[in-house]
């Protein structure tokens, strides 16, 4: 057990990180992510208000649809990344555990006069991930199999109200389940009693998300990185960009839009990296070009259990960001040859219907 975001959380269960990782890729892994922040934004102006905090299209998101979002500071740095669902009567938002107090304060301060900001500290959050997650969950909660990737619906399990989305952070098909905290113990035990399910700790959560090329807040993105530097352009819909019908109007817009339309040159870009030798390249490792000049640093890295090679995420100068570019990681003073690689490192297997 380790302290994490103010909670005691398991790095691994007795079977160990490697077994948990592989189990999630071939069957179903259960993650207790109740440390993450859940909140509701309520009121007719909530979508427009929330949109004013992010470079993301909130207003046009259909009912039952889920989207990835980014809270930015006034310099365009990332305060947090999050997921939100338009539930019709509210916006349901899930933020990172370590960021939740700051996020809620920020949202309250900026848009608290335009909509109700309601934290949900009594709700637990579970993620059931892997190719057999759907088989397991539909056995307990019939109907979840009809959801497709990045959609959500309310369900019931006995007398407990669940809100389930088909999403996750492993690159696999799977679900995230919000439920009353006082019913979580019973629901978790029921899930763990299913033959396909194994509990998964923080260690495998990290190796799975890294293989999926997904950012870990605090490592790969933080208040010093902009969404464009982080390669999250896909998360910023056209309608919010220069020339779009609702362009700008979010914190840091001047800088982020200038980086998006090319009027401000980037100084660094997030890339995937694969080592050519069997040497783990972890976070905060210096990256050089083949002439020995410093060009960046890694932000996450490990030997990917499914990728079966050392993989990393890092930031490099834009001229070294093209896929296939050779770079050198200096691991304990020794050069390890790497190559800029496409992400994800392991193909995604989301269920898109």
């Amino acid at each position: 057990m380790v302290p994490f975001a103010g909670y005691d959380m398991p790095v691994q269960y007795p079977t160990g990180l490697m077994a948990e990782h592989h189990h999630t890729r071939k069957a179903a892994g259960l993650f207790d992510v109740s440390h993450m922040g859940q909140l509701r934004l309520v009121g007719p102006d909530a979508p427009a208000a929330f949109e004013s905090l992010m470079p993301v299209d909130v207003i046009d998101l259909g009912v039952g649809k889920q989207r990835y979002g980014l809270l930015l500071n006034d310099e365009g740095g990332i305060i947090d990344d999050l997921m939100f669902v338009n539930r019709g009567h509210d916006l349901f938002v899930i933020v990172n555990g370590a960021c939740k107090a700051g996020d809620i304060a920020h949202i309250q301060a900026r848009i608290g006069s335009r909509c109700e900001v309601i934290p949900l500290p009594d709700r637990a959050l579970l993620a059931l991930q892997g190719p057999l997650a759907v088989n397991v969950l539909q056995r307990l909660v019939p109907g979840v199999e009809k959801l497709v990737f990045m959609t959500g619906s309310p369900f019931r399990w006995h007398d407990a109200d669940l809100f389930i989305t088909r999403s996750g952070y492993t690159g696999e098909d799977g679900f995230e389940i919000s439920l009353p905290g006082d019913r979580a113990d019973q629901f978790v035990r029921t899930l763990l009693a299913q033959p396909e399910v194994m509990p998964i700790g923080l260690g495998a959560r990290n190796s799975l998300r890294l293989e999926a090329g997904l950012c870990l807040y605090g490592n790969d993105i933080d208040t010093t990185t902009t969404p464009v530097e982080a390669g999250l352009n896909w998360a910023m819909q056209k309608v919010r960009r220069t020339g779009g019908a609702r362009a700008g109007g979010f914190p840091g817009a001047a800088r982020v839009l200038a980086q998006l339309d090319g009027t401000e040159a980037l100084t660094r870009k997030r890339v995937g990296l694969i080592a050519k030798e069997w040497v783990p390249v972890r976070e905060n490792v210096e990256l050089q070009n083949t002439s020995g000049e410093v060009i960046g640093t890694t932000s996450s890295g490990l030997i990917g259990p499914s990728a079966n090679k050392p993989i990393a995420i890092g930031y490099v100068t834009p001229e070294h960001a093209a896929i296939g570019t050779p770079v050198v990681a200096m691991v304990r003073g020794k050069p390890v040859p790497m190559e800029v690689s496409a992400m994800p490192f392991v193909p995604n297997r989301y269920f898109r219907g």
Binding site: Q12, L17, M18, G203, N206, V279, R332
Partner: protein, 122 residues
């Protein structure tokens, strides 16, 4: 042959003036599945407590310290090829390196098995 232990969770077995060094069962348990070891160069000399190598699992990296001063005479190439030996057989096939002792008296100050087990249980 005597086997001693360090507070860095290494074991050291002395046979004449050559000692064999590895990590303890407790150490490999705490690390989890070992995926990489970085072993010192044969012929290199280290002082006691110098970092001589690295052992890494997917979740963590740990330095391997020299339990005693001396010169590296041999490293375990089989461990380099199959780092999981550090998990499956940490006290035998998973040994890390052999050292020619330069200050054999250092051995006496290391922990015996009872003292190490008490330390590791803390």
């Amino acid at each position: 042959m005597t086997t001693k232990y360090t507070e860095d969770h290494e074991w050291i077995t002395v046979d004449g003036d050559i000692a064999t060094v590895g990590i303890t069962v407790h150490a490999q348990d705490a690390l989890g599945d070992v995926v990489f070891v970085d072993l010192p160069e044969v012929g290199k000399t280290f002082a006691q407590k110098d970092v001589a190598g690295v052992v890494e699992s997917v979740k963590a990296a740990a330095d391997v310290y020299m339990p005693i001063s001396g010169e590296i005479t041999e490293v375990n190439e089989a461990l380099r090829d199959d780092p999981s030996l550090a998990n499956t057989d940490p006290l035998k096939a998973g040994w890390f390196f052999k050292v020619k002792l330069s200050e054999p008296a250092q051995i006496d100050a290391l922990l015996d098995e009872t003292a190490y087990n008490a330390f590791a249980a803390q």
